[in-house]
Symmetry: C2
Subunit: 123 residues, 2 copies
């Protein structure tokens, strides 16, 4: 069976979540805040994730520029109940991940970089 591009991307997201079970949700979102592919639990609203991703990326870009940090590669927020991590996927999209607070950040970053590389090639 031939997979569509969207199915390939979802499969890649699911692989990432299988590799790091503390990643509970993930999505590829365009820079204008539209979902390209997602692997979210039933109780997570896709629109909310995509809107928040776009807002975070946009502010991240502005701050990085204003404070002389260059082009944004990654943004992360740590709450007392877990993480939100964004990584660039090419120039047109971003990979957003929601992770449990028990997750090891180094491992999450590593798997996200690998997934982002593969996803860039699929876009």
């Amino acid at each position: 069976m031939v997979q569509t591009r969207a199915e390939q991307m979802v499969a890649r997201l699911q692989d990432m979540q299988a590799a790091v079970p503390d990643i509970e949700a993930s999505a590829v979102v365009s820079v204008d805040g539209l979902v390209i592919a997602s692997a979210l639990p039933a109780d997570t609203e896709e629109d909310r994730v995509s809107a928040m991703s776009a807002a975070m990326l946009s502010l991240g870009e502005r701050i990085a520029k204003e404070l002389g940090r260059g082009t944004v590669e990654q943004v992360y927020i740590k709450g007392d109940n877990g993480y939100v991590v964004l990584t660039a996927v090419g120039e047109e999209a971003v990979l957003t991940v929601l992770a449990r607070k028990e997750g090891k950040l180094g491992l999450i970053f590593l798997e996200m970089r690998r997934a982002a590389k593969d996803l860039t090639n699929m876009l």
Copy 2:
């Protein structure tokens, strides 16, 4: 000579920067975006750092809440030219750090946590 509270905080920021030379600038900023203490190089505008810190914290709080991550403890942005990292200092302020891209994130986080603990006691 007795140090004022502000002088103590600046001295603590300078200690942190001495411990991790890849931290090039740091400031303690109130949640409403006013500088409480700073150790910034001459070419870094204090107002810009404080405004960006408040914006980042505010969006971080909203995103963490919307996506079920709890109360914000840390926000970070990685650009291709370095990092911006924010860590909570008590409930009323935030420690903002600008670091070079060569900086080791684990070391930056460690020293920031130590400084934030001391700064909380000074506030």
